[in-house]
């Protein structure tokens, strides 16, 4: 009996292999893709691994044993913690302001044909494509010339500046599929322009606005080059980490990096789950 069962089990896959022509190309491409993914994750693995390294001195370069102690006190370095806090606060401010301003630009592009459209368009592209080192140095030049004290304020000014185009582009992409009749319909039904925006336009483009805001937050949080030019004495997380590279980055950085990575995963998974849930919810509503 057992032998027979084994035979049938074996027989099946063989049959399938024969049925489908076996080709080298069939596994090469997926194999390559998975190798790429491995390559993409290698530094992340290293980061996470060394968050558990039981290092004793200043250097967290060689594996010296497993420990959880860095996770007990991830905020043990006051200057690192305050750098993280200022990063989060500049990024939050930068996100809020650039999301509003960028969305307004996207709306203008979506709704109106106006003089200067192509110029603004070119400025947006230039901004996206311009090198950070050029923008950073230009901003520094201006701030020095204009006697603007460098610090938190100038970081926010800069971060908003380089986030606006990304927000505008992202929201515009969302608006591209937006039926202008919807706004007209709202207006037609007695909604003032503000009501129209709040009740119709915003709810519909909201996923795009959220995506734009997250993008803006991410690039503000992660920016090193421009921020380093205009930060003055203010330390942000990337600036602190970059400064610390000279001596060896303490394991707390790995811990915080791991948290950020997990946070990113969590947000993505939540988004995906929310989508699935919403779709099923809609399906259920339809059946009711």
């Amino acid at each position: 009996m057992a032998g027979q069962a084994a035979l049938t089990i074996q027989a099946k896959p063989q049959a399938r292999v024969r049925a489908r022509r076996f080709r080298v190309g069939a596994w090469m491409l997926p194999g390559y893709t998975h190798l790429v993914i491995l390559w993409l994750f290698m530094p992340i693995f290293v980061m996470i691994l060394f968050a558990f390294n039981d290092t004793h001195g200043k250097y967290n370069l060689q594996w010296t044993g497993f420990t959880l102690k860095w996770f007990e006190h991830p905020f043990a370095i006051p200057t690192l913690t305050s750098a993280l806090v200022s990063s989060l606060s500049t990024a939050t401010l930068g996100m809020l302001i650039s999301t509003v301003l960028g969305t307004l630009i996207a709306l203008a592009f979506h709704r109106y044909a106006f003089r200067g459209r192509t110029i603004l368009d070119s400025i947006l592209i230039m901004n996206i494509a311009a090198s950070e080192v050029v923008i950073g140095s230009a901003l520094l030049t201006l701030f020095i010339a204009g006697n603007v004290p460098l610090g938190f304020l100038t970081i926010v000014l800069a971060q908003v500046m380089f986030s606006i185009p990304f927000v505008a582009v992202t929201v515009r992409a969302r608006l591209a599929g937006f039926d202008p009749a919807l706004e007209e319909a709202a207006e037609d039904l007695g909604a003032s322009p503000i009501e129209t925006f709040m009740l119709v336009t915003l709810p519909i483009i909201f996923p795009g606005v959220i995506a734009a805001a997250l993008l803006a937050f991410a690039i503000c949080l992660d920016d090193y080059v421009i921020t380093s030019f205009v930060a003055g004495n203010t330390q942000t997380f990337p600036l602190w980490v970059y400064g610390a590279t000279r001596l060896g980055v303490p394991p707390q950085v790995n811990v915080i990096g791991t948290f950020i990575f997990l946070g990113g995963c969590l947000i993505s998974v939540t988004f995906a789950a929310f989508r699935t849930w919403r779709n099923s919810q809609l399906a259920r509503e339809a059946q009711a």
Binding site: H56, G57, Q62, A76, N233, R246
Partner: protein, 427 residues
């Protein structure tokens, strides 16, 4: 602060800088840079309006008459350049600073933004140029171009000698006659150190003694040099047998040519900033220009207790990092209180035990020996003795004689120096 700052009389005693040939700089000249873009028309309002005042000796009184103790202090230092501990919650603490707070009631906001002199100077310079406060009461700057510039630009508060009794009592005699701060008007040393050669004997396979070892083809691609051109340039001068302080631009060029050989021969792996120590510890370099205290620190780290530091037979460099008060500092009294505070032997001893650079207070040695004598724990005792006996912390006179200070440079010399050595380093 900027209001009072504007009223502040300018001062300058040009004699403090050896070789300084330029005319005095008035505040107006100094602020010209701030108006540099006025040609563009949109910057008319920027700070050209600073008052010009003749230098006056009244300066010292001017700051210190008005200033009072504020009970707080912003201290900008280099990374890992102070004693640290860990509290119950695992947070990093600075015991000597806490002790200071207990003793004086002054709370210290301690930060470590200084990675190297040049970039830190470049960072605070625009602020100072604007006549604004850097936000720091104490900064730690190495003798060298930036220190000269700070003084040239009148960006340091002249110290009040009456507020620095410990300094005059306990500082090493050699520190009272520094060429870059004649009369101790602007600075008090924080620590000094040597620039020499660090190496990993297990990798090099032999002891390193000479500057020439940095040129050994056997170490091809495994040699680290400094990206800071003061260290690299001066060490190369010493290496080719020229005393830096007596060197001429022709010597600089010869030194640079020597360094170019090393570079083009593929011997140098990279021109490092402070990160050299990481490379040395990781084995990426086997032999490297190094600062004395770092080697000790690196050996504290697990798996790296075999690094060695040597002052080459040709001679090494000695430098001094100096505490100073930038103009516009909000809490000068608190600052000078702290600067003098660390000149107590007990405090100096605490710092020396941790930092392992040359302490400015020779009297600390006796304190550490005392502590070692009464220390019950064997390891701790050995560590204390290691510090008190270390020639890198309490260098004997012979060792000091073997070393040179950086070449003092005028502004125009600095430009020449930068051009010559940057052409080696920046490739």
């Amino acid at each position: 602060m900027s209001d009072t700052d504007r009223d502040r009389p300018s001062y300058l005693d040009p004699s403090f800088l050896r070789g300084l040939t330029q005319a005095r700089f008035s505040r107006r000249t100094a602020l010209k840079g701030a108006g540099m873009l006025s040609a563009a028309g949109f910057l008319a309002a920027c700070g050209i309006g600073g008052k010009t005042s003749a230098p006056t000796s009244a300066h010292v009184n001017w700051v210190w008459d008005k200033a009072t103790k504020a009970g707080t202090l912003d201290f900008a230092n280099w990374p890992l350049y102070i004693d640290t501990g860990t509290d119950a919650a695992g947070n990093t603490t600075y015991p000597s600073l806490e002790q200071f707070t207990k003793d004086t009631g002054i709370k210290v906001n301690y930060s470590e933004p200084i990675q190297d002199d040049a970039s830190f100077f470049a960072k605070i310079a625009p602020t100072l140029q604007q006549g604004a406060s850097t936000g720091y009461d104490i900064i730690v700057i190495t003798n060298g171009i930036q220190m000269s510039n700070l003084q040239l630009k009148h960006w340091l508060v002249e110290l009040d000698p009456s507020k620095m009794p410990n300094f005059f009592k306990n500082a090493a005699p050699r520190l009272l006659t520094r060429s870059f701060d004649v009369g101790n008007k602007f600075t008090m040393p924080w620590q000094s150190g040597f620039t020499g050669i660090g190496y990993n004997p297990s990798r090099t396979g032999r002891d390193i003694t000479s500057f020439q070892d940095l040129f050994d083809p056997a170490f091809k691609g495994k040699v680290g040099m400094f990206a800071g051109n003061q260290d690299t340039g001066n060490l190369a001068l010493v290496g080719i047998g020229v005393k830096p302080e007596k060197s001429t631009p022709a010597d600089w060029q010869r030194a640079a040519d020597k360094l170019k050989q090393q570079r083009d021969g593929g011997i140098v792996r990279k021109y490092y900033d402070q990160s050299y120590i990481k490379a040395l510890a990781a084995g990426d370099t086997w032999i490297s220009m190094a600062w004395s205290g770092d080697i000790f620190q690196a050996n504290l780290s697990a798996g790296n207790n075999d690094l060695k530091f040597v002052i080459p037979v040709e001679g090494g460099l000695i430098w001094t990092d100096n505490m100073c008060i930038p103009v516009g500092a909000a809490h000068p009294v608190d600052a000078i209180t702290y600067m003098d505070y660390v000149y107590q032997p007990e405090v100096a001893a605490t710092l020396a035990e941790y930092i392992d650079y040359i302490t400015p207070v020779p009297g600390a040695k006796a304190i550490i020996e005392q502590q070692a004598a009464t220390e019950p724990d064997k390891d701790t005792k050995a560590a204390l003795l290691g510090t008190s006996e270390s020639p890198l912390v309490f260098p004997p006179a012979g060792e000091l004689a073997q070393t040179s200070y950086y070449r003092d440079l005028t502004t125009s010399e600095a430009t020449q120096w930068n051009a010559i050595f940057n052409s080696v380093i920046i490739t």
